[in-house]
């Protein structure tokens, strides 16, 4: 499924956070949003469920304006996982994942099976009976992603999903997303991970689009210097693998 953000404007407390951002995901691919802190990355993806209200602009899924869908219908198409979720009350991991079933409309799959399938997919089956309060930040993140999967959504929107994960789980999650065939829109801070895993990158700055394209285009040396004030660039290595070079001495060829 393709999600298209068209000319999105958001004002918060009198300040214009987004000034007409455009973005489109690619079917079955990973689209990354990169940019400095406070540039409006999270705000942009929060507009989709109305968590942040847009003052102007429209969002389409496969050409249909999302205003035509109820929140529940939208949740069955798109799973969103924010940066932080409240964990105030004692729920088991299974209980939390099962909450996602609210949006699911194919009732043929039994609820229990759907929950277990999601846990298998994210490799967290052994957490099933644990309390969310007893889990680490990284484990919680995996649980919330499993909950988004249970919604039946083919498209996932993830806001910095790697930020509580250790390196092994970062790679596990991104490898998994890459191979899942899902359409993914992901906010990342790590330029190496973004360069390696994203098929298309939108570079944002100050509430606006700055550049977009394949990693090596969006994260060119010039763009990286202009936006982040550091030297570095994304490149494709001899073996076709993409990476990001920083700290001067390049590991690969430009």
């Amino acid at each position: 499924m393709t999600i298209t953000f068209e000319n999105i404007h958001v004002r918060l407390g009198g300040k214009e956070i987004l000034k007409g951002v455009n973005l489109s995901t690619i079917n079955g691919k990973i689209t990354g949003i990169i940019g400095p802190n406070g540039c409006g990355k999270s705000t942009l993806i929060k507009t989709i469920f109305g968590i942040c209200k847009r003052t102007q602009g429209e969002i389409y899924t496969d050409g249909t304006n999302i205003r035509e869908y109820s929140p529940r219908q939208l949740a069955s198409m798109i799973g969103y996982v924010g940066q932080d979720s409240a964990a105030t009350f004692d729920f088991s991991v299974e209980d939390i994942i099962a909450m996602g079933l609210y949006a699911r409309h194919d009732r043929k799959v039994s609820q229990k099976e759907a929950v277990q399938a999601a846990m298998r997919e994210l490799d967290i089956t052994e957490l099933a009976g644990r309390s969310i309060l007893s889990l680490s930040g990284g484990e919680r993140k995996m649980v919330y992603i499993a909950r988004a999967v249970v919604q039946g959504a083919e498209t996932l929107i993830l806001d910095e999903p790697t930020n509580h994960l250790d390196i092994k789980h970062q790679l596990f999650l991104l490898d998994h997303l890459k191979n899942s065939g899902r359409t993914v829109l992901i906010v990342l801070h790590d330029l190496r991970l973004a360069s390696h895993y994203c098929d298309h990158i939108y570079l944002m700055n100050n509430g606006e689009n700055h550049a977009d394209g394949e990693p090596s285009e969006a994260l060119s040396e010039e763009n990286v210097r202009n936006i982040f004030g550091i030297s570095g660039y994304a490149f494709t290595g001899a073996n076709g693998s993409r990476d990001f070079s920083m700290f001067g001495d390049s590991m690969g060829q430009n």
Partner: protein, 356 residues
Amino acid sequence: MKTGTHILTNTLLFSVLAAAVAVSVIFTISIGSTEIPISDVYGIIKDHIFGGDAELEAGIWAKPQFQIIWNIRMPRVLFGALCGAGLAICGAAMQALVLNPIADPYVLGVSSGASAGAAWALLMPLPFFEGQYQTTIAAFVGALFSAFVVYFMAKRAGGGKLQPVTLLLSGTAVNAVMSAITSYLIFRAKSPESIAAVYNWQMGSLAAAQWKTLLLPTVGVTLGIVIFTAMGNRFNMIMMGDDDAAAMGLHVRPFRAVMFGFCSIVVASLVSVTGIIGFVGLVIPHIVRLIARTSNNRVIMPLSALLGSIYLMWADALARSAFGAAELPLGIITAFVGAPFFMFLMIKNGYGGSRK
């Protein structure tokens, strides 16, 4: 599997508590200024319901005892059960709605708003329709008004977010204003009986319970139990925070508004008869979450209703019997139990804030 055993233990827990409710009804009816043997209570109730008073007519049971059991204590005990169940589920619902484990109808000022409304209707009734309905409607308006003010004041003071501390403070402020209004109404009241009645409310008591006052609360509480349990998954979702709930497809604001309104109806139907009985909604859901070892509202709602009714039936039995003929107001007992529990939660959770 862990979840399997959970379901089993919770089904077991449900059966045990349901049985305990039935047993508590019989046992607590026997308790009071005149002690009546449990076997007599059982016999008289059975005779009245199933035997068409045959044994009573035959003189096996004494008429005064029948009067005490069926017309005085029975409605009172049943009202206690309803009241405990209603306050407990409203507490569980409010804790979910404001995402805060220290919320309940008393802490959030809903009870005192209902009390002020009821006092108004009782002391300065509108002339065209007097009676219980006016009292309940006025209580409902007061409850809704308080809930509204507390909610928005807390949200505003917390910079758009519902913070535990601001929620508590605005609850306290609204409580103070509503109690002042109630006291002022008492001061202005003409008849000593009305003053006594209003005074009774502020302490909380089941003494006013009669068969005819049972109808409205029965409807309110039953609807509450059914609706809150059926909406259990949505309450679960809202407990994950507004953003997450929205992302899972919940219409967050309408859901919260409608459920808050519904809580106010249930609380008003109870408070307009009993007055303020504090902390039941705070204590019971917490104990249930501890025993059931989950926050899943599909489990918590019905179990809270059962445990709440057991708790209040026995608290009222204590109120009736502890000091002989002089009856201790029920609100005093629930405050003695609830307030320390409240302090404990506050310390344990750091103002009941979110433990991250």
